[in-house]
Amino acid sequence: MEAKIDKAPPKAPEPPSRRPDYSGLIMTSLCRGATFLVGGVLVLLLFHIARHGAGVVSWDFLTKAPVEGMTAGGIFPAIFGTLAITILMIVLALPLGAFAGIYLVEYAGGGLLARLIRAAVNNLAGVPSIVFGLFGVGFFVLFVGRNIDRGLGPAGRSAIEQALGTGGGAAETGILFGQPIMLWAAATLACLVLPIIIVTTEEALSAVPQSHRDASLALGATRWQTVRDVVLPQARAGILTGAILSVSRGAGETAPILFTGCAYFLPRLPVAELFGVIPMVNPLDQFMELSYHIFILATQSTDSQATLPLQYGTTLVLVALTFMLNLTGILLRFVFRRRLARLS
């Protein structure tokens, strides 16, 4: 039976009824009220943070280091650390996640292996962030790190230290990689954001019309040529969206880095000069970080009331950072979907 509705109404028709649909009216307003409540909470939250933080954030606040036992001064090291670790994180996670997404959409089909990978991705997305922290300590710091140290030997360790010009005596202590450092914190965060990147990549690739692939294959292109020259260029914006959302998520996470490299206070920036000339972020150093800084100031300081303005200032900076990133990601996705919808 072929049912073809020619004149389907654009909206649900309200049928004539004997009495008005009171329960419907009430429930509809309840649903609307709940949505506006959630939106209202968001606005209130942002407004509150902006009102209390705006007076604190100044050029000096953004560019100076904390002084007097973190009761005054700025938050520059925390901003620097946040940027450094999220960049390192995305460098580790983006290729891995994007290639995984390409495999799932373009190669895997619906087989058992693909189902297994998808189940793993879904479950990875639901792993509590503190468990990632434990994993970072147990796997990256203690297993991978200590084994690298062992493999390098005293000579290898001191060679690396000399190249970086840091010099911490790792040849004698035997510990260079096997301790909480930025590299492991970034690696832990990379595991955490991997599902986000995979899922957004999948979504971006799936949105590319199948006919484009068919056309490319029909012209004699191999599968990889099709992916590289036809599918990926169209999906680029979508993948970028995933990367931006991941950076935002990574910048706001605290629990995974608590034990994998974050420092309460660091009198120096985690930088080094490679061979004494090339300035670079030192991934083998600890670092300060915005979200951890807020946590420390709010809960671990001796007089948390005195540093309340600093806390609000730091909060405002972190909110602004993640908010901008998320907004960019959401807008980008909106544009991307528009364009693909027009294509197909």
Binding site: C31, V121, F139, L142, T254, A298, L318, I330
Partner: protein, 357 residues
Amino acid sequence: MKIDVPGKVEGARIGVVAPLGMAAPRASARPAPAASGADLRLRGGRRLRERAIELFLLANGSAAVLIIGLIFVFLFKEGLAAFRDIQPIQFIGGQENTPTYDPELDTFTETRQFALVWQPVSDSPKYSLLPLLNGSLLVALPATLISTVIGLLVGIYLAELARARVRELAKPAIELLAGIPTVIIGFIMLTVVASLVQSITHSHFRLNAFVGALGVSLVIIPVVASLTEDALRAVPEPLRLASYGLGATRWQTVSRVVVPAAVSGITAAGILGFGRALGETMIVLMATGNAALITGNILSSVRTMTATIAAELGAVARGSEQYHALFFVGATLFTITFMFNLTAEVIVARMRRRLRM
């Protein structure tokens, strides 16, 4: 039987928003890639290259499986090592010397009692998980309740009731709420909401399970709302049209046709939300007071499993008894959340199969 529905254009699913990395829409309509018949005709070198690329991509794809596996292995490796020093029964409770007053002799006598205490730093450390489990549940259950109710209403509104323009504004707003770092929500709970709640309830503890639950629900509402919306949108349009055709109003259609059809998806949303609530760390660490008590009072300070790990792991020596005990707590937490995630996933998969009519 496929019914072509020209109406309800905004329902055309060009993309369902995944809440920042949650369950994504799968391209179910796309045919699986054809068997590489074309590739077979390629000459040696190129064929080899194609094969190598596919293997390389497969290796990247397997990373997620590998990471989940490694989490399992290393959490349990370090966690089960706790049993070298700690009797299994000690994770439930331990004997403790408690002085009791004897009125006849007017003296204190030491009696040994079975106590459910988490007190790892003491002469005779105690590792009962029950107070921590108690704390986690006392935060996660109310948080799930609050966020399921509100998330369900929001999801229904976004999927079925809102006009396209309202939805285009409301959805990003909810996503932005989901994107706020949890440490910031914890901070606001700690500095503002806790005092507000105390002035209303006159509770003894300023920081308590209820404050934590409020904060956690802020994080979970977006999750439940988006998953509910996805579930409702997966309900085929002909069901709605049939309901309208029988004279039902819009709300009658929603409440008696669409929601019942999507009920398993909504259940899955609630389960996933509960898993998230159990795993939430920073908010509960900052807002619940962190006193490991066995209590049913929601206005009492509690200490969750997540907060215990976060608060104590930084201060313990590697390989110590407490270190392994904390990994054991982590392994327990991971197992619980893993079960919930798996359950939700199975439910969603079953629903997808059933609704693909």
